[in-house]
């Protein structure tokens, strides 16, 4: 059996979606360009094509959807930017070393648990706005890095630990933001 033939899909999602390679993305352009590609390549457009073309279209259509979900999510977008520079973060095994941030994490978690148990909507709302703000700041911090700005830095000079710490921070606030929203909704 020969290896399955696949289309040579653009692996840089920014190029694929017609966006400049940097952390700041215009979500409207992302949506517009993905719709344009889906209009052409969605499997529904290939009902009369050969089975091979149908399979390739389905593959590409799925790839477009993946690109949209990666670029549409700040944490995944940051990781994709890093991956394009050859930096693949092992998210599962990353350990936070910044003790001040570790302490902050603990306090925020405690605050969430307490106000959830006490059904304290006012504190939860305040917490949500704090967390959303911290999430925004973490994103701005990443955006300000060379990679976030879309530059191609010299690899040996990159502080990959610092970048990993930034992504980890974003990931923490993203997750907490969702948990607080869920807690608020459950009230």
């Amino acid at each position: 059996m020969s290896a399955p033939i696949a289309v040579n899909i653009e692996s840089n999602y920014f190029t694929l979606m017609g966006l400049p390679q940097r952390f700041e993305v215009d979500l409207k352009v992302l949506k517009k360009n993905s719709r344009e590609l889906q209009r052409k390549y969605h499997p529904d457009r290939f009902c009369n094509a050969t089975p091979q073309e149908q399979r390739l279209a389905a593959q590409f259509s799925a790839q477009i959807n993946t690109a949209v979900s990666v670029l549409g999510n700040p944490v995944q977008r940051a990781m994709h930017l890093l991956a394009l520079q050859g930096l693949v973060l092992d998210a599962q095994n990353y350990t936070e070393k910044d003790s001040a941030f570790l302490f902050e994490q603990m306090e925020l978690r405690e605050s969430l648990e307490e106000s959830r148990d006490e059904r304290d909507a006012k504190t939860l709302k305040a917490l949500l706005s704090d967390v959303a703000n911290s999430f925004r700041v973490a994103q701005q911090d990443f955006s300000a890095t060379e990679i976030g700005q879309g530059q191609t830095p010299d690899l040996p000079l990159l502080d990959s630990q610092a970048l990993a710490a930034l992504v980890s921070k974003m990931r923490f606030f993203e997750k907490l933001n969702e948990e607080v929203s869920v807690a608020l909704k459950a009230l």
């Binding site: 033939i5 289309v7 390549y41 529904d44 009902c47 009369n48 050969t50 799925a62 959807n65």
Partner: protein, 638 residues
Amino acid sequence: MALLKISEPGKSPMPHQFKRAVGIDLGTTNSLVATVPPGKSPHVIVDAQGDALLPSVVHYAEDQINLVGQPALDMSIADPHNTLASFKRWMGRSIDDIQSDDSYDYVRPDAVDGSPDASKASALVAVHTRAGAVTAVEASAEVLKNLAARAESALGGQLQGAVITVPAYFDDAQRQATKDAAMLAGVNVLRLINEPTAAAVAYGLDKADDRYIAVYDLGGGTFDVSILQLSEGVFEVLATGGNAALGGDDFDRAIADWVLAQAAVSAADLGPSAYRQLLQESRAAKQALSEHRAVGLAVAGNGVDWAGELSRQQFEELIDGLVEQTLAGCKVSLADADLVPSDIGDVVMVGGSTRVPRVRERVALLFGQEPKIDVDPDQVVALGAAIQADMLVGNNQERELLLLDVLPLSLGIETMGGLVEKIIHRNTSIPCTRGQEFTTYKDGQTALALHVLQGERERVADCRSLARFELRGIPAMVAGAAHIQVTFDVDANGMLEVSACETNTGVAASIKVQPSYGLAESQITAMLQASHQFARDDLEVRALIEQRIEAESLLDAVQAALQADRHLLDASEVQRIDSAITELAAAAKQDEVVSIKDAIARLGHQTEAFAARRMNQSIKQALQGRHIDAIADPVQDD
């Protein structure tokens, strides 16, 4: 060779040739089939008696001929044990589901495990009839066969394909069961689409500006509400809700109960046959009250003799509690979608019971706007499906309808401790692909078992089991050294396929799929062969026709591709493809199914690389073209 016609990839090489395509609404109570004639509006196809609605009822008669529709419904009282109705409720459901969930109490009490090999892993619900244990898949196939035959005789030939509608909340097992039914019926499924989306398409809402849409579907025995979001032509189901045991039949019962109270008798006094008569009269009264202010009603039999009048106002008081329940369902779904009634841009009415003026009034009051009722509420879903089918086969190249869907329920796999790790989250745009890496637990381990589930909850026990996969042929290595990349592909219909590969060695692991609540492919084949409707000869004739249609469409597509992109091939490649074309064209003229199949496979193989090059070229052009556009016409921020 005939003159070649030029077309774009994926488009029909002969745009003027009408292809027979239909939309099918496979309903709980009634089913319909609709089509779009060339240059005309969509319409439903009626049977020889002029009826559009086919009752979704199958009767297994003594002479081994299955009755479908009204004749089957007529037998439901005389011979209930050999008559199946409302089987859509147990599509893709197991006997365990039914026993553990009170809301399934409408399934017949004689329901059994219907898996042909009696293995617990595919314990589909079935009921005993004189034709043996019958599953919902087989009964649905009878309904589909009947509708397909009706359409084929109206359209004058075999169907190219059908779009079949399913409830938005149908999970993978239920969608698969629907596809299996179509396969058994010999109907080629172009696409499964969600019922509320089809209704919205019938109203042309896909062309509308971004908005939220509520679809209120009150049928004979079920109530469904869906909240859709339309954004740039994409329909996303935000929330679904309803009541599986509430419908227009309850309105009839409310009237009958009122009559009994007026006559001061009980249903038992009246006897079953007179009570059935009363129910039918109540139904007629309900329909008449949509037009008239009052109707006469009478009940007689078993010493009972009463006649009186029911006014519309009295009727409305009788059903207000029931209508209120549907509105409560709407409010729950709105809350689930994080919306308030005034956020809704359009309200679409589906189902015969939405003809009752009181229902419309109350729905209008809740949403603060008049609901859409211009399209026949019994037909609207089938009509929307027909529009989509017409588009898919390439009959209508003007309408830019593209239905992009999202996964209705999250897909995950079982991990340690009976927990579910989500691989693809609900509301992810489909088609989609996700990879997940696994490794071995023991030295020399060559197999791995995966349990795939669907649902939002965290525990395995709270999600629905979809299938178990066994990966075999993993190269023996020390524990943790193997990197097994498992790929989950969800197609445009929301259905899952799994493949696996060990990444170090490139060895593809073979996967054995055991659907938890469905039919394995071998079981479907066995059912097809055992089907009483198909004599062996019929089956062969049908297979031959199907292969010829497939050969023809492949030849069309390849010739169109060659005409457009011959320059992507070198001389020897062209020659190989040309000879495979000649071979297939010759085989298609003979009566050998196997040789047509082989020739199709050979032409497919010869054009594989060509297809990839064409696709690459097309994508490259699309990306470059867009880049130039972007410079010439910068996108504005708003």
